[in-house]
Amino acid sequence: MGRKATKEALEHVDLVNGTLYNSLKQIRVDCKGDNGDLPILVSVWCCQIDTKQTQKLASLIRDYINPYDDVSLTHLKRFSREEGKAMKLKSIICSTEFLETKEDVCEFIKEYSDIQIETMHELNVPRFPPPTREISQKWSSAYWPVSWKGNPNHQFLNSVEIDIEYVRNLIHSLKEIEKESNSISASIFVNQENKIQCTTKCYSHNDPFQHSIMQGIEQVSLEEQKKRKDLSTSKQDRSNYLCQNMTVFSSHEPCVMCCMALVHSRISRLIYLRSSPSSGGLETNYQLGDREGLNWKFEIWKWIDRKSESNVASSDELLSNPINY
């Protein structure tokens, strides 16, 4: 795969193909749908205020709304001029998910400030940042002024911090484990400090309890239970929440059940080797883990580097059987 780095890409990043170090391919929803005509919308409360109130409303939003509103609106300009009304501004207060009714909004504003709101209505605005400058302009005139801060996925790819040598080693271990154990699939759970939390193998996909991901999640929880019972464990060590901040290495694209289990367990990153045609819950079906509407997302990468594994290439063939749960 030739590197087509653009000016703004870092050395190891291929923005066009979504790969890092020519080894990890980003798995995400095909963004062709983002043609600018139909952004995903979200409903928000929009009000009119006197310009004198701007400062107060901006602090209210900053201190009491943005930290708590699950719907991030930072890609939108918060204030907009009212045409033909010199001293008036329109402002987006919060999502209607955060405060459900008009009465809730009024009560909230009254409780945390003395701002005078003149009118208020519901408004649909783009839920996510625009992918290109042209689209940001289209959306701005069609819905509400949108900020252009660059392609969010390009920014993401440039910002990923990943120790590629460590990943390479882990992938190698994973293949070794599969080969030695003769299992159908295997997983390794790794914490934030690159410390292996558990290694699991699956011998029968007919039993959902035996899938390596489910076993891994179980082992992490049992370990955490043990830690919390042990009084010598420091307070900080007791506060791990599910599999948060963990990276999961998996020999296969996990099935729908396992992908959703990883969402529930709040992992940070998944790296897998092979697709699972028909049963997989990522590139094959639904793209769970990078899907709007669920309450958690994680990075999804597929290991595409073959060169570095040339010493095990022959066995690689044997291992490359996709699975159907």
Binding site: P208, M214, S265, R266
Partner: protein
């Protein structure tokens, strides 16, 4: 005319299991596994994520594991799952991989529902394994009210003081009643005479068309005491506990609308009993 009294009884038992789980600080989502032929309750399950520190220990997993541990050769095609909330995407896939016979749920799961609300995992033809039959709306408003009793608690015990949200659940209305079914499927499960419920979204399903209900007319103390595994795991079931449970819910009138006239109470974890 389709008499749904049996399903209402089973769902009432199921909700009671969820209520008992609430008293050990678990999310009140619960289920029963029953033999389709004999209607015998083979296993029960309730959310166990907080105690186990494992986000996958949903009611369905607990109930299935219990059953399988006691009978390795169980044929899941012969069992019915009664579950208070529509199975999430994970559980829906799990149930399909097991080959579950039938799923009946209380309220839909707006955030994670895997039986049609968010994704149709139970019926998607692209997935391997046979699809399964699933329908919901039995004791829907009660299932929602039980969850609300949990969410108000959660806010109180949040680590940092969160922005106040509306805790006035005694007066909160219920969302539109939507079914993840085609009209034909709806008629098959609920009968033609209930089509207004399907079409308007404003009414609740009732055991008998044209008649309202109160939960305490549907099940008795004895029914609840007879639920297997419940007392040994979540404590004694007595009249006081059962009455506290009944007090959480509104009645549904003969017009199929929730009757907000009844004074209901809400569960308070700190006092471990209800407050007015």
């Amino acid at each position: 005319m389709t008499d749904l009294t049996f399903l209402f009884q089973e769902m009432a038992k199921c909700l009671f299991v969820g209520y008992r789980a609430l008293t050990v600080n678990e999310t009140p989502v619960s289920c029963l596994i029953e033999d389709i032929e004999t209607n015998e309750i083979l296993s029960i399950g309730y959310n166990y994520t907080n105690i186990s520190l494992n986000g996958t220990k949903h009611a369905e997993f607990i109930a299935v594991k219990r059953l399988r541990d006691s009978n390795l050769n169980i044929d899941f095609g012969k069992v019915r799952l009664i579950v208070s909330v529509e199975p999430c995407i994970m559980c829906a896939s799990f149930l399909r991989q097991l080959g579950i016979g039938e799923v009946v749920y209380g309220c839909s799961n707006d955030r994670f529902g895997g039986n049609g609300t968010v994704l149709p995992i139970h019926s998607d033809p692209n997935l391997p394994q046979e699809p399964y039959c699933s329908y919901g709306g039995i004791l829907r408003s009660e299932a929602i009210q039980l969850l609300r009793n949990f969410y108000i608690q959660e806010n109180e015990s949040a680590p940092q003081p969160k922005i106040k949200k509306n805790k006035d659940i005694e007066n909160k209305k219920f969302p539109t009643n939507k079914f993840n079914l085609t009209k034909d499927q709806f008629v098959e499960h609920y009968g033609k005479e209930r089509l207004p419920v399907y079409e308007s979204g404003e009414y609740e399903i009732t055991p008998i068309v044209g008649k309202g209900y109160s939960l305490n007319e549907i099940i008795s103390l004895k029914d609840l005491k007879d639920i297997p595994f419940l007392e040994e795991e979540l404590g004694e079931v007595n009249e006081e506990v059962v009455n506290e449970f009944f007090d959480l819910f509104f009645d549904v009138g003969e017009d199929g609308r929730v009757n907000y006239g009844k004074t209901i109470r809400k569960y308070n974890a700190k006092k471990r009993h209800h407050e007015e």
